[in-house]
Amino acid sequence: MGKPLRVLIVEDSEDDALLVLRELKRNGYDPTSERVETSEAMKTVLAKQMWDVVLSDYSMPHFSAPATLALLKETGLDLPFIVVSGTIGEETAVAMMKAGAHDYLMKGSLKRLVPAVERELREAEGRRERKRAEEALRESEKHYRRLIETAEEGIWIVDSENKTLFANRKMIQMVGYSIEEMKGRSFFEFTDDEDRTLPGSFMQSPSGDFKGQYDFTFRRKDGTDLWAILSATPISDEKGQYAGVLMMITDITERKKAEKQLNYLLDELERTRQQQLQIKDRFLSHVSHELRSPVAVIHQFVTLLLDGFAYDAAEQQHYLNTILRNVSQLRRMIDDLLESTRAERGELTMECKEVPIEELVREALNTFRGCAEAKGIHLSSALPDGLPHVYVDPIRVLQILGNLIDNGIKFTGEKGSLTVTARVFEQNPDYLCITVADTGCGIGHGDLSKIFERLYQAKNVPAEGRKGLGLGLHICKELVSRLKGEIWAESKPGQGSVFLFTLPIFSLSKIWPSLSSFDTPSTDAASLIVVEFFSSDRRLLTKSDEVVIHRAKNILEQLMIPGDVLLPQMGPTSHSDVFFIMARTDAKHADELVEEIRNALSKLNELENSGLSVTVSLRMLNVPRQGGGLWNRL
């Protein structure tokens, strides 16, 4: 079997073509061939299959070697092209070779055909090989360039003198310079890294021992710092000589900033923690100190009794009373401690309701009456008639009043007095202002701002005044603020002290939220009719107003179905500048009733004459019968 060879013969003579084929077969080839003699035919066969070689006659009736060559080039195929002709001069041959033909043979001496074909096949193969290699190179370069330009790391290449040869897009972006501004400039112009973190300004050690990672700071064009991790690799030329450095640079500025921020926060946290510990230490030390005093007294008198040092019953009684007093004091301290801890945790519970302040003041004063009398201190209250009710947790208010009265008694000497007053707060008529004034030693200006602080105890006060943990006023402040009021003190040393606190006045709007929280559908639906009287200037009611209100009340009572009426604010003693009446009725009749009330009250000219206005409003409520308090109120 001969070597296969695909031969495209451009020839008008069948015989000449056969001669050529015979010559190839004789030299060990097994050619497959096509013979064409026109441009169209050649195009067709070129498109049909791959060829190894083109052998072309020079001149043909419808075609020629130059045209064949031109056509071949047009197709872009790199095939060996050999002219086989009988009638061609040397000049023409040279012109053909210049145009790109690979060889030229005379039909008369085909001996050179096979060597020429073989040589050209080899060369064409070589050319193809080179082309493939070039393409591969181009492809790989493209690949690397893409890699470099899209890298999320900066890449910077410098020569052996540290001068910039290349910086990728990311690097340019990172430092803010253009590549033109960077090229040729020393790498070290882009940093003011005085420490020269890079060893021996790293190009001076061409041995390559600087290969590695460094923390490095660049200076951006806008003057800001660029924190980076830089990994450097030395580059050598073909002779193995040091030629520069390739650096991969990762921007860690954000990370550094975050680290700084984190460190700052950690420091802050530690400082706060230390402060907290100190506060806790001081608190514990203080508490243990204060608790020891009554314990020491109890210890004293118990041992006196045990050792038989009390000679008679009266003395025994006296010792036991002293013990009891100190036990009570200990108990109060422990209560305060727990209360203050609850306050710190925001765990003070509040159950607000509408209460007359008079009752609370009376109760608080009664609690301390005995204690005050023992010291010869006169307790009194000055409460104007007709004070509006407050909306507070009565137990908490008693606690506040108790603390303030107790304090007042402690700091007031014999024959002194302590007075509790209440009035509508001038600066905010939605509040009552309650005052507890004593004729005691007063509070120094420096102490005045601190007395509500936790654990604060004024210095240079009577010993009795220091019997406590220093928590009382702090607890008062917490309680008052939970009741949405404010507390403060006014005093001059030697002239007594006044403690003032505000409490919110009760109005219907205060309980609307709790009323409307029963909005779940229920068969127990009821309508609430509210009648509110306002004095136009929110002043306290005068006696003449009272008469008018009383008449209005009678009208209302006549209109309501008996048993459905609740007149919580109409008692003879609890006058308020805002009166209201709530009536429970079924939904069907509610609208009619509202209209009736409006009509009836509009006839009451005295209302307008006395400066009162009245509003009648209707609310639908779903009131569970088992709901307890609220149902009972309605």
Partner: protein, 123 residues
């Protein structure tokens, strides 16, 4: 002749109890409830020993000791501290001030009486 002990403490109950115990243990006593009075009483009564609280109105225990050293007649009078305060925070300063003993309340009566006796013997 009985030895005299000056008790300086602003807790009247404590002073009263200690006073009874010292008297029944054979001592004469004098009492002061603040720092200022302490010096006056000491100069007036010539105590053989002072039981001194640290937290006092009108000059705390350290002030009292300093002022005692300013009076020739009081320089040699031994001082025993009896206080509710934390000894760790005050004992160094108290030692520098030359106190004979330091007790934190409540103090065991026998221990206190022994310390009183010892301090006076030393003088």
């Amino acid at each position: 002749l009985s030895k005299k002990v000056l008790i300086v403490d602003d807790d009247k109950d404590f002073v009263m109890g200690l006073n009874v115990r010292l008297k029944r243990s054979g001592y004469d006593t004098a009492i002061a409830v603040d720092g200022y009075t302490a010096i006056r009483v000491a100069l007036d009564q010539h105590p053989d020993l002072v039981l001194l609280d640290l937290g006092l109105p009108a000059g705390d225990g350290f002030v009292v000791m300093k002022r005692m050293r300013e009076h020739v007649s009081l320089i040699a009078v031994p001082v025993i501290i009896v206080t509710a305060r934390d000894p760790y925070m005050h004992i160094d300063r108290a030692r520098e001030a030359g106190v004979a003993s330091f007790f934190q309340k409540p103090v065991d009566n026998d221990v206190l009486l022994r310390a009183i006796r010892k301090s006076m013997d030393r003088v």
